[in-house]
Amino acid sequence: MKLRFNRKQLCIPYAVFLIAFVIAPLLVIIYYAFTNGKGQFTIDNFVSFFSSTNTLGTLLYSFALAVTTTLVCLLIAYPTAYVLARSHFKKKHVLLMLFILPMWINFTLRITALKEILTAIEGNIAAFPFVNSVIGMTYDFLPFMILPLYNSLAKLDKNLLEAAQDLGANKWRVFLRITLPLSLPGIISGITMVLLPSMTNYVVLDMMYNSTYIMGSLIGSYFNAYDWNNGSMISLILLVIIFIVTLITNRFSDSTDKNDKEVVL
């Protein structure tokens, strides 16, 4: 007998995967988030998160850390991507590769190496937890910022830059009024790629003997203590935050597509 599929049947594996690994766990998290240890419905977990200065402090701290990391990444990545995209250097793909290459080396190995370097420079690395976290995460996430920026800058039509110059704009104005606005989609996707993971990636902090807590470490510690209810609630809150941030950034990139100039400058 010949096997025949219609298109709807072809999506079955994907649907099964989606239900088993996305929807079901999500429901489990929601269930745990709104119950207590005895399985009764409660909003205590939610209330306790927002009433504890400890957890709120962690939220703010991770947010500050993530924003700083993203900014540092952006400041390093933008000029790099700009130079790479604009250079006539024939081997620029090799240069780009050099920035991407660290991604191929095991993450643990890289952070361990970084730890040794920082120890050599600072002595006791535990003394500068925030700075070290930023350095570690920047090192880890930089390629994710460079790539989308490079892509959007490389496809920038050189004619547009010449046209702006032709109309009287000096180099700086060409950058401000043409290059920057047109690379905004790249900036936004770079930010999305860096901001969200750096709020939860506590492994970097742990490996650098860091005593500070970010959202990821908070969730980890609750789950390690078998307090699944509070852990789930924090995961859920983080999920909502991520959802909101994604919504905002999507709004931004949508409006650039629609040529809304108010967003541009």
């Binding site: 039509d157 004619n159 046209a163 032709d166 109309l167 047109l182 100039k261």
Partner: protein, 504 residues
């Protein structure tokens, strides 16, 4: 400002790119204020590079560009009172129509004169007010017939509308010169014709100088006051459209502008020229026995009864072209194309008459290939990027080669010719082409071909040093074909270089 009738002057401008290709060379041009000048030439001839040098995107390697008598060669584009309409429009996709047009105005600073309390006037550099910008943008949109499009975004516009916005964006700044880089290339034929007329009208109304780049000869002839025909980075001819069409200066111009029959001919007497086996009266005066290229426009050949007229031939095809018929006639080994409103039956024999003013004579650019070369160890000669077998004994009358390859002169002297500098001459008929890369002494690409009635004249350019070989060949090849060139041993004429110098 220096007093000069020319708004822009290019003096000995040369542009060499990083990879050492010469894009523009020996470029001298003067443009009067208000003229409509067109740079016409095949793609890659350097016309766009020249335009980019005037705009300031490329800087000349040597030479000067003067604007109103002042040297602007090294000024950046934003400091030049020149605006460009780009081939692919280059409108800013993130700005709407209004902002695109206002882009230049917002950057502009103007001198405004005020009076202070004491009654003294002083000058202040200021931005244009919002009102002024509004007014100017509106006027520019009217100019291109797109009123009310201010708020539209660029990607909702058709190609023709984008083109108009690009023009509006340039003229709104009131530049002294408007540069247009094949602006109509992306439009369909009907649209292109309309825009040609509109651009011409706009030029008349605005009174600013237009420099227009195109590879479309018809466009150049219809629109321009002055046409600059460019090939291979050099100006071939500058003139009004009528001059360019009626009195082409060389076969390239004749072939590029309009249809032409081009033949090899020879001057046989005063105002007499012989080609296609017949003698014609002509209006150009050359020395007797001078070899010439003869150009005859297809519409200058008049069909008459067989026996009348100077030529007779058999019609091989007649194609209706709307206004006229295009008739191809065979006369022995020659082929001639006629445009005529009269019909000629294919297969019939007709006579053809050419009036003296329909025959244009020009000195042939190439009749012989000249190179300087060097004899190698194996008694071959190296020239023009290649290496060929040759007969070195011809350098010394009565000499011969011994067993070891040394040359023994008539007096019995033994000479080692390795490294001897020689002049090499090869006739255009003595070179043949082959598509087997190893068959000849040098390989290159066909860069030009012109049909000359019974044969084609090809120019083959080598890759390494861009040496040009000119050859005549009856077979049809295509431009950009990669060929190797074969020159028979006895057709390479060698002379010693130093003996030549001594004669001079």
């Amino acid at each position: 400002m220096t007093n000069t009738p020319y708004i822009i002057e290019l003096i000995d401008v040369k542009k060499v790119f990083d990879d050492e290709t010469i894009a523009v060379d020996n470029f001298n041009l003067q443009v009067k204020k208000g003229e409509f000048v067109t740079f016409l030439g095949p793609s890659g001839c350097g016309k766009t590079t020249t335009l980019r040098m005037i705009a300031g995107f490329d800087l000349p390697t040597s030479g000067k560009i003067l604007l109103n008598g002042e040297d602007i060669s090294n000024l950046p584009p934003n400091k030049r009172p020149v605006n460009t309409v780009f081939q692919k429009y280059a409108l800013f996709p993130h700005l709407n129509v209004y902002e695109n047009i206002a882009f230049g105005l917002r950057l502009k600073r103007v001198d405004n004169t005020y009076k202070n309390d004491a009654g003294e006037s002083y000058v202040k550099r200021e931005r244009l007010t919002k009102k002024e910008i509004d007014r100017k943008v509106k006027k520019a949109l009217e100019m291109v017939d797109l009123e009310g499009f201010e708020k539209r975004s660029i990607d909702t516009l058709s190609g023709g509308q984008q083109q108009r916005i690009a023009i509006a964006r340039a003229i709104v700044n009131e530049p002294e010169i408007l540069l247009l880089d094949e602006p109509l290339g992306a439009l369909d034929l009907k649209m292109r014709k309309e825009m040609q007329i509109e651009l011409k009208n706009m030029h008349r109304r605005l009174g600013i100088t237009f420099i227009y780049v195109t590879h479309d000869q018809e466009e150049a002839l219809t629109m321009s006051d002055k046409v600059v025909v460019i090939n291979d980075g050099e100006i071939q001819q500058v003139g009004t459209p009528t001059e360019i069409y009626n009195e082409p200066i060389n076969t390239f111009v004749a072939d590029f502008i309009g249809e032409s029959n081009i033949f090899n001919g020879a001057v046989t007497g005063k105002f007499k020229v012989k080609f296609c086996g017949a003698t014609f009266e002509c209006v150009d005066d050359y020395e007797i026995n001078q070899l010439v290229d003869v150009v005859v426009r297809p519409e200058d050949i008049i069909i008459c009864k067989p026996g009348e007229g100077q030529l007779k031939g058999k019609v091989i095809s007649t194609v209706f072209k709307g206004v006229h018929y295009e008739i191809t006639v065979e006369m022995g080994k020659f082929e001639i194309v006629i445009q005529s409103t009269a019909y000629a039956e294919p297969g019939s024999t007709i006579g053809m008459r050419i009036e003296p003013d329909g025959i244009h004579l020009m000195k042939p650019v190439y009749t012989i290939n000249r190179f300087t070369g060097e004899i190698t160890k194996n008694n071959t000669v190296k020239f023009g990027d290649g290496e060929f077998e040759c007969d070195v004994t011809k350098l010394y009358p009565g000499s011969h080669l011994d067993d070891e390859g040394y040359l023994i002169t008539a007096k019995g002297e033994k000479l080692d010719l390795t490294g001897t500098a020689v002049n090499v001459e090869v006739d255009t008929h003595d070179i043949t082409m082959s598509d087997d890369e190893d068959a000849g002494g040098v390989t290159g690409t066909i860069i030009s071909m012109i049909y000359k009635g019974d044969h084609y004249r090809y120019i083959v350019r080598t890759e390494e040093n861009e040496e040009d070989y000119v050859l005549s060949c009856p077979d049809l090849w295509n431009t950009d074909d990669y060929v190797s060139l074969i020159i028979p041993k006895d057709k390479i004429k060698l002379t010693l270089k130093h003996s030549d110098d001594a004669e001079d």
